[in-house]
Amino acid sequence: MTTAPAWSAAQAAAAVPAPGCTAAGDLRFSNHGGTWAYRSRGFRALEHTFRIRSDDGDCGPFLDTVFQEFVSEHQVAVTYSLVTVGSGEARRLALYANEERICLARTESRRLSILLWHVNQQVIRRTSPYNVLLHAAAAERDGVCVVLPAEMESGKTTTVAGLLLAGYRYLTDEAVAIDPESLLVSPFPKALSVDRGSWPVLPELQPAYTPVFTQWQVPPRGKGLRGTAQPHRPRLLVTPRYVEGAPTALERLSRGDAVLLVAQSTFEFAVRARRNLTVAARVAESCDAYRLTIGDLPTAVVLIDELVDDVLRRRS
C-alpha cells in the first residue's frame, strides 16, 4: 500500500502567501485622487475577471502583452490598482485588488511579480468550485492533449515551452482546468513564467523587456509559438522532473499511480474530494501515464513527441 499526503504540491502552491503581502483588509484603497496613466481592457482567466490601472504608464505595454490572451468584454470582478505612495526614500509602489492592499513594494519588479502571483491565486480560488484544477502544464498537438503535472520547480514550464517551440499549441504552464463532466481541459494561457535557470536552454524566448527580474514572461504567441489550443480531453499524463546530468528517460506508470498523480496535483483536493477523486480516476483511465526524468530538454521533447505519435497511430 502506498500512502501519500494529498494535494501536497498543489496545496502548497495555493497556500503560500506572497512575501511582502499585508493581511487583507488592513489598508483600504482610498488614497488615489489622481488620473490613471494606464487602463487595461477587461481580462478573463478561467473564472477570474479583472482589469488593471496604474498611475504610471510605463508598465502598460508589459501588462498588455502578459495578459493578451485573456482580453474579454466580460464584466470584471476585480480591479487591480497600481499606485505610487510617498516620495524620495519613502516612495513605495502599492498594489490593490479592489479596495484591499495586496502589497507595498520597493521595486516595480516586486510589485509586478506579486500582481502575477495574485492573479494566479485568484484563478485557482475562483475556478476550483467549477473545474478540477491540476497544478500542471499542458499543450496539444494534432488533438492529443499532453498534461504535465508536477510539483513546483520540477520543470513544467520549461518542458511545455520546449513543446511549444516544437509546434504544440498552448493550454497552460500553471493550472489545468478539467470540466468534471466532459473532462475537457479549458485553456488558461497565461504568459509562460520562465525561471532564470531555464533561460540558457530557451534563448529564443527571451522577451525584449523584462520588468520582473527573476522571470521571463513569455506570451504563447509570436516567436514561432502557435498560440492557444482549443479545449481537449487529456490523453497523456507525463510528470516531468529535471535532474541535472541524468539520462532523459520515460517510465510507464500504472493507472493506479496515475490516479494518485492527478489527485496529488489537484488544487484544493480535499474540499471536493469525491468529485476530484472520481475525475482523477476517469482521467487516469483515459490517459497513458509516464514519469519523465529530464536531463536535457531536446531529448525530453522528442520522447513526448514519440508518445503523441504513438497515440495518433493507435487512433488511426
Partner: protein, 97 residues
C-alpha cells in the same frame, strides 16, 4: 503510514469501511482518500481484494477463509498477511470496527 501497525485486529472483529473514505478503483487497484487525515492510499491488487471483501458483515476470520479459498492459499498464510494489512487500514481510518 508506519509499516508496523500498532492497532490490534482480531479474527473475531467485524470491520467496515470508514465513514469519511472516498474510494475509486482502476485496473484492479483501489485508491482511497480518508478525509479526516487527508491521506491518499493506493492499494495493490491483493489489498484491493481485501478492501472489496470487507463488508461490515463478516468476521476477519470469515474474510480470510474466503480469500484463502479464492486464492487457493493456506488460511494461516492468508491470516498472517491480511491481519496486519487490516490493522494498517484501521490505523489510517480507512476501516473501522
Amino acid at each position: 503510514m508506519s509499516s508496523t501497525a500498532s492497532t490490534a485486529v482480531g479474527l473475531q472483529d467485524v470491520l467496515r469501511r470508514g465513514d469519511s473514505v472516498v474510494a475509486v478503483q482502476v485496473d484492479g487497484q483501489a485508491v482511497l482518500f480518508e478525509e479526516s487525515l487527508a491521506s491518499l492510499s493506493l492499494l495493490d491488487p491483493i489489498a484491493t481484494a481485501v478492501w472489496n471483501a470487507t463488508d461490515g458483515m463478516r468476521t476477519v476470520a470469515e474474510l480470510c477463509d474466503e480469500l484463502a479459498h479464492t486464492y487457493s492459499a493456506p488460511v494461516s498464510r492468508v491470516q498472517a498477511d491480511v491481519v496486519p494489512l487490516l490493522a494498517r487500514l484501521v490505523e489510517t481510518r480507512m476501516l473501522c470496527t
